[in-house]
């Protein structure tokens, strides 16, 4: 393993640039970087694959993984430093920071964002570690399912810890708990003492300030004098242990009362039942973290609770909806149970109703305070929900359950704007032990098995739904919620579906690919590489997918569904959570745009960022060094002689050109190119029609005008003239094109070894206004996504990547890029409206089809 000392020694070995080094030397280092890059991404993908639930691993495995990965990332930084000594020292610091965070996580210390406040709109799935499950789950409803939630913000764990530290509360709490241990105190007294300490403590001034600012910002959205609800959201509350309902929510506080309500929520962390429960399950008091959610109070006409599955009789396959008039539905009614509706989950029809006498309700009085008032006489014995509302609520509950893959306990409110979900958490279902497993080994006798022992498990789980076969060009919006999607390729373009369907079956797909990662993120049952899936499952209607067992049954297999509910989700166990938390410091890519000023070593937040940064800079070093006057004595430099209006200089650093090329000749013809990826690109560039950008009737004169404008020297930086460069070897190409205002980079390694194959494509620029340019970016994005690239688009920048396809498939995609470069070079000029995107897309597909013929 490298030490930091080694790296620093490496840094001082050379200073400044790598001038004087030959392309061959640099290319050797570059190849090392590519290989490390590939190994690191492999390791990350393998660790992610394990999260699918199909592997058995323990903590030792996680430690081992981190150790090996970390060593490779160090080597990567070291190798880049050999290419461009001393240029990116900030990488070491970034690396050390990430490494130390990972060690902290491994040692069980909490790592979250170092901010007091996060707004609901900015909270992401993984922010559960910063704002608690309750806040994070709620925000996912909005961002992933489009369900209405109250507007609001979270006060983070970071704020909680600082509040405790500032007031020496950790020490005070520990002292009280020690007294409790020595039996000199009752739990009730101890709880009271701790709560008193919290309530009289001061909120740090910056936190007070941040809460005030956040409230002011919220007021701009929801109006002056808002009433708020302040809710608890504890760490780990909703996963392994059931702290549900142990903590306090404060409903109906005005903006000046938020700080006090916050303290009450924090104090409730130490109420007697919570203390007792934690002691029972062996949860340490310093493991506790409490965040709060500050939400607008929804002025609801009706409110209540949904259990998406009847917990006392799950087999009945019904859900329970309870409701009452007014705000905070059932909380108010110690006196009444409210109305109860039992709803069939399949048909969403009511199977039984209990309407109670509802004489009191809580409601907003004078628009500024909550009070309990008498219900209007004629409403007291009326059902508080209409049939339509019940159906909507049931549908919403099933969507939420499908998303979280677990029955849910949901709090809702109905106001003028419709249904608003206030909270959702997993519902604990108790079964009679061993009721289901007995018959499970013989399911095949009762249910027709459509597919058995085919494919690989990407994410375990049971999904029940109607088969929906999805073709390559099909509209994703037309896929019904809850479907079992069956498709040919596990293309990244399917990602938006993964939060709303019940299962995914593909005929071809990489278990370590992007879509597989997304399936695991949403715990979506998924099977890849199921040969013949489309023809077998087409027209089969309702099916049950058991991804762990690699089986698909005709119809609904209830036993499996219930068996799955009964199990504690393995993906919720400690090791899975630990690995997921560690991967958050490793896997996400936050540095996307290499042209952004943010693209700097110090902004690398994950190992993936570092890997990406190093790759980008290694490519850049290779290209720039030529212009910096690097010795090319051991490389052959030629100008490409062809009839395409693209002036290309080729630098061959080994085996990229046919031998012998006439040594004196300054030019080379396309026929003499041996580099596998450049050959494929050139075929695309030469594709008849690629440089003829008039696929539909367009204004030819304006096209010609734009063409000449772009090529005219007055718009060009003199330095960029003739800077179209391809650095090649037998299996590699790095093509950088600077055509006027268009910048394109293609970096590709291509051989018979699938594992090493990749294409990286970057495109941006244009001469027209931003709107047209981004239309073109959208066209390129859609075309590339259609051909299974992973694409990121920001404005007029497109970055696309694809890895690990076999040589013919890769060549096909390089051919596509060749077409795209030629075809779209001027297209922004013609992107006068959105329908043009489709016209041009069809033309490109047509050109690709022609290739196949």
């Amino acid at each position: 393993m490298f030490t930091i000392k080694d790296i620093l020694k490496g840094l001082s070995r050379w200073s400044g640039s790598a001038k004087g080094r030959s392309f061959k030397e640099l290319f050797k280092l570059f190849r090392e970087i590519l290989q490390l890059n590939s190994t690191i991404l492999d390791q990350i993908a393998a660790a992610n694959q394990i999260l699918g639930g199909d592997f058995v691993f323990d903590k030792h495995f996680i430690e081992d993984f981190v150790d090996k990965l970390s060593t490779n990332v160090q080597k990567l930084i070291f190798t880049l430093n050999e290419m461009v000594p001393g240029k990116y020292e900030g990488l070491i610091e970034a690396y050390q920071k990430i490494e130390s965070d990972i060690i902290s996580i491994l040692e069980g210390r909490y790592i979250g964002v170092a901010k007091n406040i996060l707004f609901y709109d900015e909270i992401k799935k993984w922010d559960e570690d910063s704002v608690g499950g309750k806040n994070a789950f709620l925000c996912q409803l909005k961002s992933n399912l489009g369900i209405q939630i109250p507007r609001g913000f979270a006060v983070t764990f970071y704020a909680y810890q600082r509040f405790l530290q500032r007031n020496d509360l950790h020490e005070k709490i520990n002292r009280i708990l020690e007294t409790l241990d020595s039996n000199d105190l009752t739990i009730k007294d101890a709880a009271q003492m701790i709560q008193d300490e919290i309530l009289k403590a001061d909120i740090p001034s910056d936190l007070k300030h941040d809460i005030k600012d956040a409230t002011a910002k919220l007021k701009k959205q929801i109006g002056p004098n808002p009433l708020m609800a302040v809710r608890s959201s504890a760490y780990g509350e909703d996963s392994e242990h059931s702290f549900a309902g142990l903590y306090e929510s404060v409903i109906g506080v005005n903006e000046h009362g938020i700080s006090d309500a916050y303290k009450r929520v924090i104090a409730s962390t130490f109420n007697p039942s919570a203390l007792e429960y934690r002691r029972k399950i062996g949860f340490k008091e310093d493991e506790i973290l409490m965040a709060a959610g500050c939400q607008e109070l929804i002025n609801s006409k009706v409110s209540g609770v949904i259990y998406s599955l009847n917990p006392s009789d799950p087999v009945s396959d019904t859900m329970i909806i309870s409701s009452n008039w007014g705000i905070g539905g059932l909380i108010v009614s110690g006196r009444t149970t409210g109305d109860t509706f039992y709803v069939d989950r399949k048909t969403q029809k009511i199977s039984s109703i209990q309407i109670s006498w509802k004489d009191k309700k809580r409601q907003l009085v004078d628009q500024k305070r909550l009070d309990i008032v008498e219900v209007d006489e004629e409403l007291k014995d009326k059902p508080s929900l209409s049939l339509g509302q019940i159906k909507q609520l049931a549908q919403c509950a099933l969507d939420i359950e499908r998303y979280f893959k677990k029955p849910q306990d949901i709090e809702f409110a109905i106001a003028d704007g419709g249904i608003v979900i206030l909270q959702t958490r997993p519902l604990r279902i108790k079964y009679r032990a061993g009721l289901y497993p007995k018959g499970l080994s013989e399911l095949g006798k009762k249910h027709k098995v459509l597919i058995e022992d085919r494919g690989v498990t990407v994410q375990e789980g049971v999904g029940i739904g109607e088969v929906h076969v999805l073709g390559p060009g099909d509209d994703l919006d037309k896929v019904p919620k809850g479907a079992i999607v069956v498709t040919k390729y596990a293309s990244p373009r399917l990602a938006p579906l993964m939060s709303k369907v019940s299962g995914l079956v593909t005929e071809i797909g990489a278990v370590t690919g992007h879509l597989a990662t997304i399936c695991r993120e949403y715990a979506l049952p998924a099977l890849f590489n199921v040969s013949g899936a489309i023809s077998i499952l087409q027209d089969k209607g309702l099916v049950t997918l058991d991804a762990a067992d690699r089986k698909i049954y005709q119809g609904e297999v209830k036993e499996l569904f219930f068996f799955n509910l009964e199990q504690e989700k393995i993906t919720e166990s400690y090791e899975y959570r630990l690995l997921r938390r560690i991967l958050r410091k490793i896997e996400p890519l936050t540095l996307v745009d290499p042209t952004d000023t943010h693209f700097k070593p110090e902004n690398c937040e994950t190992f993936h960022d570092i890997t990406r940064f190093v790759h980008e800079k290694a490519v850049e070093a290779l290209v720039n060094l030529h212009f910096a006057g690097i010795s090319t004595k051991d490389a052959s430099v030629k100008r490409l002689k062809w009839d395409i209006p693209l002036d290309l200089v080729i630098i061959d650093i080994g085996g990229g050109l046919e031998e012998p090329t006439p040594p004196d000749s300054a030019t080379v013809t396309p026929e003499l190119i041996r580099s596998i990826p450049l050959k494929a690109l050139i075929r695309g560039l030469k594709c008849p029609g690629a440089w003829d950008s008039s696929p539909v009737s367009i204004d030819a004169s304006s096209f010609m005008a734009s063409l000449t404008r772009t090529f005219s020297a007055e718009h060009m930086d003199p330095k960029s003239l003739g800077q179209n460069l391809a650095v090649i070897s037998s299996h590699y190409v790095n093509l950088s094109l600077r055509l006027g205002y268009h910048f394109t980079i293609v970096d590709s390694y291509l051989s018979e070894k699938i594992r090493e194959n990749y294409i990286y494509f970057r495109f941006f620029g244009g001469v027209t206004e931003a709107e047209r340019r981004s239309r073109r970016a959208k066209l390129i994005e859609e075309v590339l996504a259609y051909y299974d690239f992973m694409v990121e688009t920001r404005g007029d920048l497109v970055v696309a990547r694809i890895k690990r396809l076999n040589r013919p498939e890769m060549e096909k995609r390089l051919y596509l890029i060749g077409i795209l470069i030629g075809f779209t070079r001027q297209l922004d000029v013609m992107m006068i409206n959105d329908t043009r995107i489709n016209d041009f897309k069809d033309k490109i597909y047509e050109l690709m089809e022609m290739k196949n013929e």
Binding site: F55, V56, D58, F61, L440, E442, I570, Y574, E575
Partner: protein, 131 residues
């Protein structure tokens, strides 16, 4: 149904292993008990014969190697499957010498261990068949 009533004991000091294996094997119709402490597992084995024992090697207290030796002494018919995160050729060799049915390095796929359990089950049935 009765032909599937093979009993399995799982011993691993990392709770996640049993947590993962037990339901998966139960789903296949096996009777499964699991332990995280080797002393307790040993007590249980003394009371009752299990058809298959799945054990980790590296544990506090009685090591997996000792445990499997004791199991084999008590019940020579029991098929033992070793799972370990510290797999070396030596440990593999040693455990095979002690009559282990198969050896699996962590992390492994559920389908892999189920396959091995199935093979162990077949062998048990073959042995019983002539009677």
């Amino acid at each position: 149904m009765s032909e599937k009533n093979i009993s399995i004991l799982i011993l691993d000091d990392e709770p996640i292993v049993a947590k993962r294996l037990q339901p998966a094997l139960e789903k296949k119709g096996y009777q499964v008990e699991s332990f995280t402490k080797s002393s307790q597992a040993l007590e249980r084995v003394r009371e009752q014969k299990f058809d298959i024992v799945i054990t980790d090697l590296k544990m506090e207290g009685i090591s997996g190697m000792e445990f499997l030796e004791k199991v084999k002494n008590l019940w020579p018919e029991t098929e033992v499957i070793v799972i370990t995160g510290f797999a070396t050729m030596e440990t593999a060799k040693e455990s095979f010498k002690k009559g282990v049915f198969d050896f699996l390095a962590k992390p492994f796929k559920l389908s892999e261990i189920i396959e091995i359990v199935k093979k162990a089950e077949e062998r048990i049935k073959r042995k019983k068949a002539p009677e």
